[in-house]
């Protein structure tokens, strides 16, 4: 029985506009549409908003971008209660600790798709340069019509608008003609975050293999088959390709759709984390698939249940990498337990501008293959978020603001 949804009706476009008058054209901006995706709440209600906003003025030293494609990500809501709670240990608790009165979940219930990282926090825009600022010199390296993506710096707007401005051209990265903008739109958060996670894991793996000596094997578990995990799998396959016999990768799939996808990689094991199975069964099956405890977990799940599972699959001295947003929320609950088992929980931040530039080249050259994605009209953002919340979209979902590149 499906949950009843109460869709948010987008504001109607203003039917009657004042005619433009000659004396005021510089003060009367045209309107354009903005779609905002907030942290998904219950059944995705009240998390997708559509507004008409003025087309922003071009900054003198920046540019205005006409947005063509945007990755379906949500903007994390700044919760006033960021303070960590004191945990009290309790014997007999399978989930290791009591947290009295307050859960450790996001302010709103995380949906299956959020647990799976099919929908994750971020900002992903690909489009064309529509205007350059008045102070921009001709030799700046950019021209009107260039296809670009935007590195998600601190000042990005809260939603995806048809037009947006960037105050510093350094945050624009040109996209080669061979790459579709819908693929490019996946890079700024999903691929970049996955890449930075793999980089962090890579450093740890190298240190581990050096310490253990020749013929040793390092085991990596990637949790989830949402967009982040799919990128991580591909990026890991690329980065560990020169250690192919010494690194094993296992995907803990939360959906059976991911199984066939993950099988694309011959060297990847797959274990299904069916939510309806007992935790101990899942651990047993993961141990079987990984042939014992693993050394590194890349966990894009967002719940303490997922992190708890990851820690149980992790050997002594192991490291689990989690998204910064998740780490900030769950570390108070898990840090003592991890310490007892000499395990580390490391938050991973979004990657750097330089990493994003490198990523563009790797994907454009075909060295890293993007995960499957589906393009939807931006008008369908609400429906797209519903599907993502229930992990019904294979790979990534991309919103398109214009019919063609």
């Amino acid at each position: 029985m499906p949950v009843e949804l109460v869709p948010v009706t987008p504001l109607a476009h203003c039917a009657a506009r004042e005619p433009l008058r000659e004396p005021q054209p510089r003060k009367m901006n045209k309107l354009c549409r903005q779609v905002s995706i907030e942290s998904p709440g219950l059944a995705g209600r009240d998390c997708v908003f559509s507004f008409d906003i003025p087309v922003p003025d071009v900054p003198a030293n920046g540019a205005r971008i006409r947005v063509v494609c945007a990755g379906a990500c949500y903007r994390p809501r700044r919760s006033p209660s960021q303070t960590s709670l004191t945990s009290v240990s309790s014997t007999g608790s399978l989930l290791s600790q009591d947290v009295s009165q307050e859960g450790d979940l996001p302010v709103n219930l995380p949906h299956y798709g959020v647990r799976d990282a099919a929908l994750f926090p971020g900002y992903e825009v690909a489009g064309t340069v529509e205007s350059l600022g008045s102070e921009i010199k001709e030799n700046c390296g950019y021209a009107v019509g260039d296809r670009v993506i935007l590195y998600p710096y601190d000042g990005v707007p809260n939603g995806y608008a048809e037009y947006m401005v960037v105050h510093d051209l350094k945050y624009l990265i040109k996209i080669p003609d061979s790459m579709e903008l819908s693929v490019a739109a996946m890079l700024p958060t999903g691929a970049l975050l996955a890449m930075n996670t793999v980089f962090a894991a890579h450093e740890h793996v190298q240190a581990l293999l050096a310490e253990r000596g020749d013929n040793s094997v390092c085991k990596i578990l990637i949790v989830g088959t949402g967009g982040l995990a799919l990128w991580a799998m591909r990026i890991a396959a690329y980065h560990f390709s020169n250690m192919k016999n010494r690194v094993t990768i296992t995907i803990a799939s939360l959906k059976d759709d991911g199984l066939m996808m993950a099988k694309e990689f011959k060297r990847v094991n797959v274990v299904q984390w069916n939510e309806d199975l007992y935790e101990k069964q899942l651990i047993e099956r993961t141990m079987d698939a990984c042939q014992g405890l693993v050394d590194v977990v890349i966990d894009f799940g967002t719940t303490s249940r997922s992190l708890h599972r990851s820690l149980q699959c992790l050997g002594k001295g192991g490291v689990v990498f989690v998204i910064r947003e998740v780490a900030d929320r769950l570390l108070p609950k898990f840090s003592r337990r991890a310490e007892e088992r000499q395990q580390s929980i490391k938050p991973v931040d979004p990657g750097s501008l330089q990493q994003l530039e490198e990523l563009v080249q790797l994907v454009a050259s075909g060295q890293i293959e993007p995960p499957p994605h589906t393009v939807y009209p931006a008008e369908e953002a609400f429906d797209v978020v519903q599907k993502l919340c229930h992990s019904e979209i294979q790979g990534r979902a991309i919103l398109r603001f214009y019919p063609t590149d």
Binding site: T91, S93, S96, D98, V99, G103, L109, D257, D276, D288
Partner: protein, 449 residues
């Protein structure tokens, strides 16, 4: 007073789920009748507890030696195992393979080709391509067994619905899939269900084991019957003249004729009506892990809607069918007395924040009522078999996720079986029954070849 009133109301609301010993003994009486119907040739066809002949007449005796394969198909994952036996020594290698939802609902050929592919991968990885390996096939679905190596699927359960398999010999389907590959050499020596495997695995360790029980995704039991009482034997498939025969009761179907209606609740009817197989597997739906979580959710939803839980506001998470997992029941009941850490974690996952202690206590009570009923009905079944066998010092080998992971199930069963019958017995977790047991059946079958 409000708290006490609330507690009393919760208990009153749950009273239909609490079974008295009188009710349980009536269950036992009716199960005995159904078992006798199933064993008798004259009434077998009309019986709902089919008591299928397994054609397994020997238990392990410690002389088994060699390498044996097992294939364990009983759910959304299946396992392939290689077991090396040498007297009392035992070595095992195994691998788990997933069955995607698309194959669970696809064609039988697709399913068996997938299984054969995984078998071949496993054997090739072990470098045993050229060795003839006896295989025991644990097939945990209702089966009409016509011989040790011949079994026709009666119907699919546990969410499976592959086409072209019902009514077919699943050993032939497997053998055909293996033959289509023409790479590995496998000799299918036996087909059995997980209860038979559970009994065999336990019997290898404990020679007193005579009953196998599964309480997991599904529920079923098998036991050692005198061959003279087994009238439904297909003698065309071989001579079955030894004194004992394992009987696969298929007791999950108990109640299909309405003989359990006197204890069915509105929640049981809801579960049945919304199941993949309405009016089937009634006993199983009251016991097994496939349904326990949902049964609990239905009770909680009603209590919340009736204003007895969560301040009368039923959260959306509690309204969604299939989202209260059976493991939640075990996790909630694993909380120490007066502690609600697991309970709050589960409730948070359902969208219920800041539950007060009394709500947590009430949720735990509901979980305990549902799981206790399951344990007591399982106990009634075992007591029935113990009475029928009429022996002392019988060990019951048990497997299945509910038995393994619920914190109180073993103790609840031990106590209740003692109340319901007077023979001495023991309950023993059967380690790796569905895998090792199948290999042991193959080993015992090979012993006699």
């Amino acid at each position: 007073m409000a708290v006490n009133g609330s507690k009393r109301n919760i208990r009153e609301a749950c009273k239909d789920l609490v079974l008295s010993d009188e009710q349980l003994k009536l269950v036992m009486q009716r199960l005995t009748e159904e078992i006798n119907k199933g064993l008798s040739k004259a009434t077998h066809d009309e019986a709902v507890v089919k008591c299928f002949t397994t054609y397994v007449q020997d238990l392990p005796n410690g002389t088994e030696k060699g390498k044996f394969l097992a294939l364990d198909l009983g759910g959304t994952n299946f396992r392939v195992l290689l077991i090396t036996l040498d007297g009392n020594n035992f070595d095992m290698k195994s691998k788990i393979y997933a069955i995607p939802q698309s194959l669970m609902l696809g064609t039988g050929k697709q399913l068996f080709d997938h299984i054969a592919q995984c078998l071949a991968l496993f054997i090739t990885d072990l470098g045993l391509d050229d060795v003839i390996l006896p295989l025991g096939f644990t097939f945990s679905f209702p089966l009409t067994q016509l011989g040790l190596t011949k079994g026709k699927l009666v119907r699919w359960t546990k969410g499976f619905n592959c086409s072209g398999v019902v009514g077919e010999d699943v050993v032939a389907l497997l053998e055909e899939a293996i033959a289509r590959r023409n790479d590995v050499k496998i000799d299918v020596c036996a087909i059995l269900n997980d209860t038979t495997g559970t009994l065999m695995s336990c019997a290898w360790k404990n020679r007193n084991c005579r009953i196998g029980l599964i309480v997991g995704t599904g529920s079923n039991a098998c036991y050692v019957e005198k061959t003279s009482n087994v009238q439904c034997v297909n003698h065309e498939s071989g001579n079955y003249d030894k004194p004992n025969m394992l009987i696969n009761t298929e007791w999950g179907a108990f109640g299909e004729g309405g003989v359990l209606d006197f204890i069915l609740t509105e929640y049981d009817h809801d579960i049945d009506n919304n199941s993949i197989n309405p009016r089937r597997q009634i006993f199983e739906k009251m016991i097994s892990g496939m349904y326990m979580g949902e049964l609990t959710r239905l009770v909680l939803e009603k209590l919340a809607t009736d204003g007895l839980l969560f301040g009368g506001k039923c959260p959306n998470g509690l309204r969604q069918r299939g989202k209260f997992f059976t493991k939640y029941v075990s996790e909630i009941e694993s909380d120490a007395k007066g502690k609600y850490g697991n309970c709050r974690q589960v409730l948070a996952e359902l969208g219920i924040r800041n539950a007060v202690d009394q709500d947590c206590e009430n949720v735990r009570y509901v979980c305990s009522v549902v799981s206790r009923r399951a344990a007591h009905l399982s106990s009634a079944g075992i007591a029935t078999l113990l009475n029928k066998m009429g022996e002392d010092n019988v060990t019951v080998g048990i497997d299945g996720s509910v038995y393994r992971f619920h914190p109180h199930f073993h103790d609840l069963m031990t106590e209740k079986i003692g109340h319901l019958q007077s023979h001495k017995f023991d309950l023993m977790l059967s380690e790796d029954g569905s895998g090792r047991g199948a290999a042991l059946v193959a080993a015992v079958a090979s012993r006699d070849r």
